[in-house]
């Protein structure tokens, strides 16, 4: 069975982002980028399913400008067999991304679409669900455990109340939560090998996708800053400070 894994290039999770003073967005030029952490987990899960013999081929897919090829090479170093680069220089919002991924999923006849549960830049948490909706297939979001048996998957999901288990028929969409696995460190030989793996470039037009009307961003500002507080020396001081504010 074939698995399709979507990966996104985002500002690295350790970067303290800076909002542009003219309110048009955040500074991304010259800032360290890497694969969205949730997508690394999605890739790792696909590779583990392949190592268990449940998946025969892993296809990594991304949407974005030229620099996204780096992200695809990372996916290939993880163990993807080949990659598809949907080239689009501008901003792509979740519904449009989902339409493109759904088209690729259909074209490839993949039985699993594994994605991260959210990208750490737009924090939308939408794309996987939208892919499932567009294709009328099952979704198991926020997965912390995945078992594939024949033509179905048993997925444990992280929900507010605890852990929920669903059984879904394939094809299905699974979105990865942080606790699904621990992504492996990429070894140099794998990174070298990844350079030789095939990357196919396609456009929205090739996939028959018309971008959906998007949300228009009118302004981006930093959050209100918290003023620096005081450091107390003793527990007594802390307790009286909290009592003075009526908090305890």
């Amino acid at each position: 069975m074939k698995a399709l894994v979507s990966v996104k290039r985002v500002v690295d999770y350790n970067v303290r982002i800076q909002v542009k003073s003219d309110g048009t967005g955040v500074v991304t030029d010259g800032v360290k980028h890497s694969m969205n952490p949730f997508d690394e987990i999605a890739m790792e899960e696909a590779v583990r399913l392949k190592e268990k013999g449940k998946v025969t081929e892993i296809v990594a897919v991304t949407i974005g400008g030229d620099k996204n090829e780096e992200t695809l090479r990372t996916a290939l170093a993880f163990g993807a067999d080949r990659a598809i680069h949907i080239k689009e220089a501008g901003e792509v919002q979740p519904l449009t991304a989902a339409k493109a991924f759904a088209a690729v999923l259909k074209k490839e006849g993949a039985q699993l679409f594994i994605a991260g549960k959210q990208a750490i830049d737009d924090d939308a948490n939408q794309t996987g669900q939208m892919v499932a909706a567009l294709l009328d297939i099952a979704q198991a979001t926020f997965a912390s455990k995945v078992e594939v048996e024949g033509n179905k998957a048993i997925v444990t999901r992280e929900v507010d109340a605890g852990l929920e288990t669903l059984e879904v028929d394939l094809p299905a969409v699974i979105t990865a939560d942080l606790r699904l696995n621990e992504p492996r460190y990429l070894k140099l030989p794998d990174i070298m090998k990844a350079k030789k793996k095939p990357v196919e470039t396609v456009s929205f037009a090739d996939l028959g996708v018309t971008p959906a009307a998007g949300l228009k961003t009118t302004k981006t500002v930093p959050p209100p800053s918290r003023s620096k507080g005081i450091v107390v020396k003793t527990v007594d001081e802390l307790v009286s400070a909290l009592k003075a504010k009526g908090l305890v």
Partner: protein, 311 residues
């Protein structure tokens, strides 16, 4: 005028507290607001929803297939309801809403607005991006506005309503490709993390699940909910549903006490709106002190018992 549909989250015949906060957003948008209860038997939940201020009507869709709500089954029914002239479909920003709303939005062929934190108009909203380090004002395009609500940004509406309850039927074909197996819920007597006025959270420095008892003791003394950092959850000290942060729960209590938590960007994303933040950490350089209103540098195993005794 806007016509707003709020999707009710509920479990075991009880309305989830998140619905009331979602109604606060409907109130700010302005218009006629209906609450949809999809259940096997929604009577009790509908009666609770009818009491919430600003609700004009409660729509109940009873169907045995809704007994254990999965998005695959709920979405087609909500899409059918939404097409009856609604301008907005709002979901609480819980795992329930986050799982379901995009499925509805895609079926209605509209982009979704995630985590509304402020309302500027019927189609203009603020939402957090980059783990809450940027606030983006977005304008939704023409068509139905499908959105989730960031619960930490709104207060629950009053319980002064008396809306009519109407049972409706929808004819949507429901898929069978998704089956509920089980829910392993964490039972706790402590206040719910997302609505608690006070929260005490522990981090990696606790060192073990056994040591977490010093956090529970302080929390119980002041009637607080208990949270945790990702490190504490990953180390197995506490279950995952206690995680506070970008990928866990976003909370805004009156008092947040962070114990042995360094204060990574991803954790701060979940607590930035707390009214008063207290940090107890032995590392004076920990980033948590940059946002704390009161900081105490010290060993939590000495500080916490002493504090619990003195409160």
């Amino acid at each position: 005028m806007s016509k707003i549909l709020v999707i009710a989250e509920h479990a075991e015949g009880k309305l989830n507290a998140s619905v009331s906060k979602t109604l606060a957003v409907a109130e700010k948008i302005g218009g006629e607001t209906h609450v949809a209860v999809l259940a096997a038997d929604g009577a009790a939940v509908a009666a609770e929803a009818a009491k919430l201020a600003g609700v004009a009507k409660v729509l109940v869709v009873n169907n045995a297939a809704n007994a254990q709500p999965t998005s695959a089954v709920l979405a087609p029914q909500i899409v059918e309801l939404a097409k009856q002239g609604y301008t907005h479909v709002l979901f609480p920003g819980t795992t329930f809403g986050k799982d379901l709303a995009p499925r509805v939005a895609a079926k209605l062929d509209v982009q979704q607005v995630s985590d509304i934190m402020a309302v500027h108009g019927a189609s203009s909203f603020d939402r957090p991006t980059y783990a809450g380090n940027a606030i983006t004002t977005v304008e939704a395009p023409a068509g139905t506005v499908v959105a989730t609500v960031r619960l930490a940004s709104f207060n629950a509406v009053a319980q002064t309503g008396s809306a009519a309850v109407e049972t409706v039927s929808v004819s949507a074909a429901l898929p069978t490709h998704t089956r509920f197996v089980k829910l392993e819920a964490q039972k706790s007597e402590r206040p719910d993390l997302q609505s608690a006025a006070k929260v005490v959270s522990g981090g990696r420095a606790l060192g073990s699940s056994e040591n977490f008892k010093v956090v529970y003791a302080l929390a119980d003394k002041i009637g607080a909910g208990v949270g945790a950092s990702r490190a504490a959850v990953d180390s197995g000290y506490v279950p995952n549903d206690m995680q506070v942060g970008q990928t866990g729960k976003i909370i805004a209590p009156e008092l947040y006490i962070a114990v042995g938590i360094s204060g990574a960007i991803q954790h701060l994303a979940g607590i930035k709106d707390a009214r008063t933040i207290v940090a107890i950490n032995k590392d004076p350089e920990a980033p948590i002190f940059e946002v704390a209103d009161f900081g105490l540098v010290g060993d939590l195993f000495q500080v916490l018992p002493e504090m619990t005794a003195k409160l």
